[in-house]
């Protein structure tokens, strides 16, 4: 999954969703466990309240390590801090953690759009008898 190995199809790189793999960021154990703490509280989907002392107790680190870790995560844009004490993990992290979904999203962005055809805009067929009846009625167009 490194930058050198993936193929570039159609100019769009499905692996490039604006986030390198997490393991290449050289996160320290403290930083990565704070990130895991946030993710396990649902911070990927919503902002969560991060109590530094609670994080420190859960991760078995000191409070200053948690402050430093949150600062680095913020500097990397891995975590967003919209207001004090509340954190949100960058949704791009979700795709870095789930490569299959990432590939699918990449392909979806590259795939042709689905356009409704004439049948899609027409009335829905109700049943065989109904369709046959309609066909006999509609058979002769008005021509003068």
């Amino acid at each position: 999954m490194s930058a050198a190995t993936h193929d570039h199809r159609g100019g769009f790189d499905p692996d490039d969703l604006g986030m390198p793999p997490v393991y290449t960021l050289n996160l320290s154990a403290g930083q990565r466990s704070v990130l895991e703490w946030l993710v396990s509280r649902g911070a990927v989907f919503d902002t969560v309240t991060a109590d530094v002392e609670e994080i420190a107790a859960d991760c078995g680190t000191s409070v200053s390590t948690v402050y430093d870790s949150l600062a680095r995560l913020e500097a990397l844009h891995l975590a967003d801090n919209p207001d004090p004490t509340r954190y949100r993990v960058n949704p791009r992290y979700f795709f870095a953690a789930n490569p299959e979904i990432r590939r699918l999203v990449g392909e979806a962005l590259d795939a042709p759009q689905i356009t409704p055809d004439a049948r899609a805009t027409g009335p829905r067929k109700i049943g065989n008898t109904e369709a046959r009846r309609r066909r006999t009625i509609k058979a002769v167009p008005d021509q003068q």
Binding site: Y23, L27, E36, W37, V52, T61, P84, T85, A96, I101
Partner: protein, 175 residues
């Protein structure tokens, strides 16, 4: 021959008939696609994992290790996580010991992330994988327990001043 409906679990001391335990494979989402399972296993952040061990988990995960067994060589991991081969080897060994990584056979180099905690694929496939692999729970080892005890002792040592709460803590104020 006892029919299926006649079997009961009886307490031999008291003679009381106990309700039959219903075994259910732990997973959170019963839908068609599940990405992660949060069970009652020890959370990963409490295991005192080193940076290289975290990176190894992430490497295996982004190479498809959540959902299928993949080939993992310490050399390949080491070059991608910017560590030495010895570090990668030690990290893999500890992750296997913690049951985070499952080795499909003792001599192969194929590993799979524990489907109790990591999954990417359909929920049904996860249930099947849990049945087939019968994965052990992720339990803290001696290092994790020691780190937790050290942190708890430190917490107890600290003078019990006014505890900083959510309303008074300003994250990033000292930066």
């Amino acid at each position: 021959m006892a029919r299926r409906g006649n079997i009961a679990l009886v307490n031999l001391d008291t003679g009381a008939v106990l309700p039959a335990p219903k075994s259910r494979t732990p997973h959170t989402m019963d839908g068609s696609y599940t990405l992660n399972a949060y069970t009652d296993d020890a959370p990963l952040y409490s295991l005192a994992l080193s940076g290289a061990e975290w990176a190894t988990i992430d490497w295996v995960r982004s190479n498809g290790g959540a959902g299928a067994a993949v080939k993992v060589t310490p050399a390949a991991v080491a070059t991608e996580i910017h560590a030495t081969e010895t570090t990668a080897k030690t990290a893999l060994a500890r992750l296997v010991k913690l049951n985070i990584l499952l080795k499909t056979s003792p001599r192969s180099q194929t590993y799979q992330l524990n489907p109790r905690r990591f999954w990417e694929g359909s929920g049904e496939a996860q249930v099947q994988a849990c049945r087939r692999l019968d994965p052990p729970a992720i339990v803290p080892d001696a290092k994790a327990v020691a780190a937790a005890q050290k942190a708890a002792a430190k917490q107890a040592q600290k003078p019990s001043g006014p505890r900083r709460t959510r309303s008074t803590t300003t994250i990033g104020a000292d930066r």
